[in-house]
């Protein structure tokens, strides 16, 4: 191996028809979201809050964040638990795949013509055999629309 080939484990998740990856270091846990409480007047991507083992978790729907059509009723739903600034978040996704180890050097920049909502949260793209894996920037996902507008 030449130098330090930096490899990162990514948790892969499906959102709509697209495969996404999240650095495993940022993923706290994966759970099935239950008893979601809606929060009126909140931003559209906040689908609600829920109780995960005594902690209050704010759930963000990744489909809304990415501008995808809403999930059909009864469609499978999973959540990826993220910790940020002492608070717990849950990213709502369709399903969770395996953990993939990938080399950082192989990551390519997101294409310039990518939908802005995607470009904001995408760190880069991997070309896997047969499909593309978009790496999500967790902090960008958690950043609010207001922060985005202010930037």
């Amino acid at each position: 191996m030449s130098g330090q080939e930096l490899e990162v484990d990514f948790v892969t998740v499906m959102i709509g028809d697209q495969l996404f990856g999240l650095p495993i270091g940022r993923v706290h846990d994966v759970f099935v979201p239950e008893r979601l409480t809606r929060v009126p007047l909140a931003a559209p991507e906040v689908s609600g809050v829920l109780n995960l083992r005594g902690r209050i978790v704010t759930a963000l729907d990744m489909r809304t964040v990415l501008g995808l059509p809403p999930r059909e009723d009864g469609a499978p739903l999973m959540a990826v638990g993220i910790e940020a600034k002492g608070e717990a978040f849950g990213l709502l996704i369709d399903s969770v795949g395996e953990v993939t180890k990938l080399s950082m050097s192989e990551m390519e920049a997101a294409p310039a013509n990518l939908d802005t909502r995607w470009a904001r949260v995408a760190d880069g793209v991997y070309r896997l055999d047969g499909r593309l894996l978009v790496i999500l920037n967790v902090d960008q996902v958690l950043g609010t629309e207001q922060e985005l507008a202010a930037a």
Binding site: T37, P40, L41, A42, V46, V49, L50, N51, L142
Partner: protein, 899 residues
Amino acid sequence: MDDLLREFLTETNESLDVVDVELVKFEQDPNNAKILDNVFRLVHTIKGTCGFLGLPRLEALAHAGETLMGRFRDGVPVTGEAVTVILSSIDRIKAILGELDRTGEEPVGNDRDLIEVLEEMSLASGVKAAAKNIPVPSSEAEPQPAVVPETAGELTYQVLERELRPGEVSLDELERAFRETEIEPVEAAPVVEEKAPAIKVPMVRASAAEAEPKAEVAAANSTIRVSVDTLEHMMTMVSELVLTRNQLLEIVRHHEDSEFKVPLQRLSNVTAELQEGVMKTRMQPIGNAWQKLPRIVRDLSAELQKPIDLEMSGAETELDRQVLDFIKDPLTHMVRNSADHGLESPVERLAIGKPERGLIKLSAYHEGGQILIEISDDGRGLNLGKIKRKALESGVTTEAELEKLSDQQIYKFIFAPGFSTAAEVTSVSGRGVGMDVVRNNIELIGGTIDLKTASGEGTTFTIKIPLTLAIVPALIVEAAGDRYAIPQLAVVELVRVQANSEHRIELIKNTPVLRLRNKLLPLVHLSNLLGRGETSDMTAQTGFIVVTQIGGLNFGIVVDGVFHTEEIVVKPMASRLRHITMFSGTTILGDGSVILIIDPNGVASAVGSNVDLARDDSAERQAAAAVSSAMTSLLLFRAGGDAPKAVPLSLITRLEEIDVSTIERSSGRSMVQYRGRLMQLVSVSPETEERTEGMQPLLVFSEGERSIGLLVDEIVDIVEDRMDIDVAAEARGVVGSAIVKGKATEVIDVSYYLTQVFEDWLHRKELDVGAPTRKQLLFVDDSAFFRNMLTPVLKAAGFEVVSAESASNGLALVKSGHRFDIIVSDIEMPEMDGFAFAETLRQTDEARDTPIIALSSLVSPAAMERGRAAGFHDYVAKFDRPGLLAALKDKTNEMRNVA
């Protein structure tokens, strides 16, 4: 820093706070030996402990202070200057302690300046000498500039404590020394006595002073110090325990005959007790938060040249220390404000006949699970004009909005950000901390702040805060299919809305309101507020109204359902959601689900911007008066046909229901025995069904001893509505028709029925008055309704009535030479109102001495006073018919007597 030192710092700081307070008391009451003993003992203890710990600078200063106080104990008169010097010494000690806290070491420097003054004072038999050298007390407690690092020999007189002098002292020694001091404080006594030659402490007094600490030590041994972190941790754990208990209870609730039930009940009780116990450990007397105030007020008093008394009561009221921390600064700020802006200068006070000394009162007490703190001053009160001007200048409001606001609402602008009415920024207040910060701090902990003020009499702020923040009782409600928690602190009562009950939701220009005990309560639908309303029917007569009170603002939150109350553990809102003002946090319910906690303050501000406010006290009365000037209470009933009929409620004596079988008929008249007399009955219209059995409603009108009953089909409602009457009455016995609640309604003429029954009704009255010629009465009212309603009444009272529909018409009549014996005038009239009318009349030759009676729906002491000033002889409420007749009789009798 070792534990000993830390403990010393904590204890000393506490002692010093006490000394501050005691000294201020002492200054006011120099002859109180007990206070002096207290102060002396505290300073002495500080000095002693410093010696043991090897803190020479502190020790020297404390010693000098103690010496001076020893002189006072010997009977040297106490002066304000001496107290100021001692207070400066204490400030210096605090500054050194602050440094000690930060660095773990006594800062380099000396206190020669202070010590010299102190010594000089103790030496001089009179204490006046050193006044000019007094160092300015630094209330900011800034660290003293490190002066020349010479450890000056100012401690030489302390020969007796030599062996414990600085240098390196091992921890062992320190600990041993400390133990000795703690267990045997009596040991300290010899120190004083050995010094006695210099101080001349009479033995008896010394022993008295030393006897007390023993008792205190005994008390001290039964308590221990626990770090706040430990308590916080315990609190968190107990909170979790409460949650888990709630969850278990919820599970068992679904299993009727569970064997867990009994042990769970036990667990539940134990948890509750544990919770209470842990809460208690966090409780501190509120006095801790205002301990520094006497000193602050004393300093302010000197700085502002205003003598100020501070009265404090309820210092022992306990509340959660977390809450205490939050209100400490707001309280201090408000007391400063009162002293600076609230109280007038002594010159001004004397000029307006107030005592020279201003008074600030601080009181605290428990009330219904919350704590009320009041800060009041007897100063000048808030200046409404200034606040208005400032509100306009700062763009908080507009001229048009201001028009609509009550005074009380305008006063509240002082809580708006960046609002200060102080013309000049003084060093005391105007430090950029405004009342908005005060309000924010208080609202942060779920409290509310309100104020009352009267020009020239002072201002009172009332703060309501919860006892604790961690666990609060809340009402669980449902709106649009979701559950929410409303903290019970804000909830006054619950009202159930039902289609047929007395509580119905009504609309005023699309704004829902509830009539509750004669007050209009603005309503807000929770689901609409939260953007979940499916533009539902605003008047849907189902659900509950949570009557809420926030800072004098009453409003009702309409919810779909109410479940139960539950002790909820408040968890902060996620940062992402914190901008939503409607919620103050989240909580986990017994069944494990998360629900949002409604912030009543957020709802209140939403209500405030949407709906007319119904406020307490003066504001509310004003609002009610404003409403009643336009509104009339009407009794709606049906009698013959479906069209509703109405009669002013005030004219009716009683509403009755009689058994029709008791109705007796004789010579075509219906009578009924009523209260021991025969009362004649009249049907409102020929179509009124005369029932043959059952009950029939009856409106009873009385006049003196005579009553008649008006038979109706059904009493529909009592409404308060604007009366715009079309007087064109075609039918007899009808004053006119009006639109009441959207329906054309006939307003009946009561006098028609009265005269129908008693043909002599008018005639008899004439005799009563007993005057051969009828008195001429001018009745001025712009409302045709009242002219029509009252003219017969006045006629019935024996007057020849001429009515005028405006003041100018009335005036024209007077000037035309028509002589009136008495004038009755409405107050609220367009163009020329009643006051102006009366004033003008007073200047005419024709009616200078004619009695005038004001008739107004606006009856308040102020209005009556104004009426008297304008020249009215009497002031009667518009619907107070007996009152009016009595006033008329009075005036006419007077006239007769004069004549």
